[in-house]
């Protein structure tokens, strides 16, 4: 039977749903942070990007400054080109900035760490970083270790 109380509870239901949507947008998916700001794009050339994925974090001094938006293979140089999107508020990376691929935790995901250099010219949209450190591939590390062990004998 139609009644005021019923109407109120239905309105409350819909409102609750809207609140949950807002919660999901802000707290669960971090919408406000990533979508509302302007970014600029640069690329970085790596010898090996094993384990790095799209949307991986890009940070400097531990602070997230952007995201990986694409990974390509450049057959002219036989290297990997990683496209990075950096927040406009961080526009002071020098032209000789270095980029390294790190691992979060022992078996965590890969992310890119940027370390700014001494150059007074700053990176802008479309620039490329050449000073890079590739990701650590476990097999190569073990191989090197064994080699070292062997040569010490």
């Amino acid at each position: 039977m139609y009644s005021r109380r019923l109407e109120i509870s239905v309105g409350g239901f819909v409102l609750f749903g809207a609140l949950c949507l807002a919660f999901l947008a802000l707290e669960v998916s971090g919408l406000a942070q990533t979508r509302s700001t302007e970014t600029y794009q640069i690329s970085a050339r790596f010898d090996n990007v094993a384990g790095l994925t799209a949307r991986a974090k890009v940070s400097a001094a531990g602070v997230t400054v952007g995201r990986v938006i694409g990974i390509r293979y450049d057959d002219k140089t036989a290297a990997a080109l990683v496209d990075i999107e950096i927040n406009d508020q961080f526009a002071t990376f020098s032209a000789d900035t270095s980029a390294s691929i790190f691992t979060a935790g022992l078996l965590g995901e890969k992310y890119i760490g940027l370390a700014t250099g001494a150059d007074t010219v700053f990176l802008k949209d479309g620039d490329v970083i050449y000073d890079t450190q590739s990701s650590i591939v476990l097999e190569e590390l073990i191989g090197k270790f064994l080699l070292n062990m062997g040569s010490n004998k």
Binding site: S9, F13, F16, G17, C20, L24, V28, S29, R55, G105
Partner: protein, 260 residues
């Protein structure tokens, strides 16, 4: 041998005609002439019956599933030292899959079967026939409001389920198991994309709502008007709707997430 083939053929034909009837019922209920005013009240009544009354089971289920995800996730991730990833594991599982699917399954069982029984009872007590004889289209008055109420309520219930689930996972992970609150939420936010995960989950929910409500409403409208007929129809609603949900989920997941 021929007789066997004949039976299969007849069965297929009757399924086809059932599908056709179901389609006609859907079309008439959705697109028929509108008489506003009366139907707004009916819609609100039905959203209450189908949505608000399902809140308790959805919230409790969401909470427990979120908490179990948190617990199970932790015990697995801690082996790899990756327990900070718990937040994203819980959130992604819920927003992409468990939220839409489990909510839809619960909905089919609770609200779907109630819908079928209600419409079936109206058919048995000749209320549908008397509406017809009074010159009122029972599809417009009885079926349409219930259909739209389902389509509106289920996505809302899904949102509530996912939110409560994430909170449940946080409850277990942060408060009980001691994961750092900051990294729990930060990791979650970094890996859950609003458009790719939350919105896709909502789209799934809307599609499930359409299918489940359609099945429930059709089974109620088309059943054999006896008490046994109602019992069989409600069972059919739950079974067909559940299968449809699971099948559609696979298809939708492949389309939405398989591409990435």
């Amino acid at each position: 041998m021929l007789g066997y083939l004949q039976r299969i053929g007849l069965a297929a034909l009757s399924q086809l005609s059932n599908l056709g009837r179901a389609g006609l019922i859907l079309a008439q209920a959705v697109f028929g002439r509108s008489r506003a005013g009366i139907h707004w009240h009916l819609l609100i009544d039905q959203v209450y019956a189908v949505g608000v009354l399902s809140l308790s089971i959805i919230i409790v289920s969401g909470l427990f599933i979120g908490m179990v995800l948190g617990l199970q996730g932790y015990t697995i991730l801690v082996n790899y030292g990756s327990e900070q990833a718990l937040g994203q594991m819980v959130a992604l599982s819920l927003t992409r899959e468990l939220g839409p699917v489990v909510t839809a399954l619960l909905f089919a069982g609770r609200a779907g079967s109630a819908l079928t029984a209600e419409i079936g009872l109206m058919k048995v007590t000749e209320q549908l026939a008397s509406l017809e004889m009074m010159g009122i289209d029972p599809l417009r008055r009885v079926v349409a409001p219930r259909f739209w109420a389902g389509v509106i309520s289920l996505p809302i219930l899904s949102l509530i389920f996912v939110s409560v689930g994430c909170l449940g996972g946080a409850l277990v992970g942060v408060s009980w198991l001691g994961i750092d609150s900051g990294s729990f939420w930060a990791n979650m936010q970094a890996s859950v994309s609003f458009y790719d995960d939350v919105v896709n989950g909502m789209i799934k929910s809307v599609i499930f709502a359409l299918v489940v409500t359609w099945i429930a409403v059709y089974q109620g409208f088309d059943l054999v008007p006896t008490s046994e007929g109602i019992a069989r129809a409600t069972t059919r609603t739950v079974v067909y709707a559940s299968l449809a949900i699971l099948g559609l989920d696979f298809f939708l997941t492949a389309v939405m997430f398989g591409g990435i």
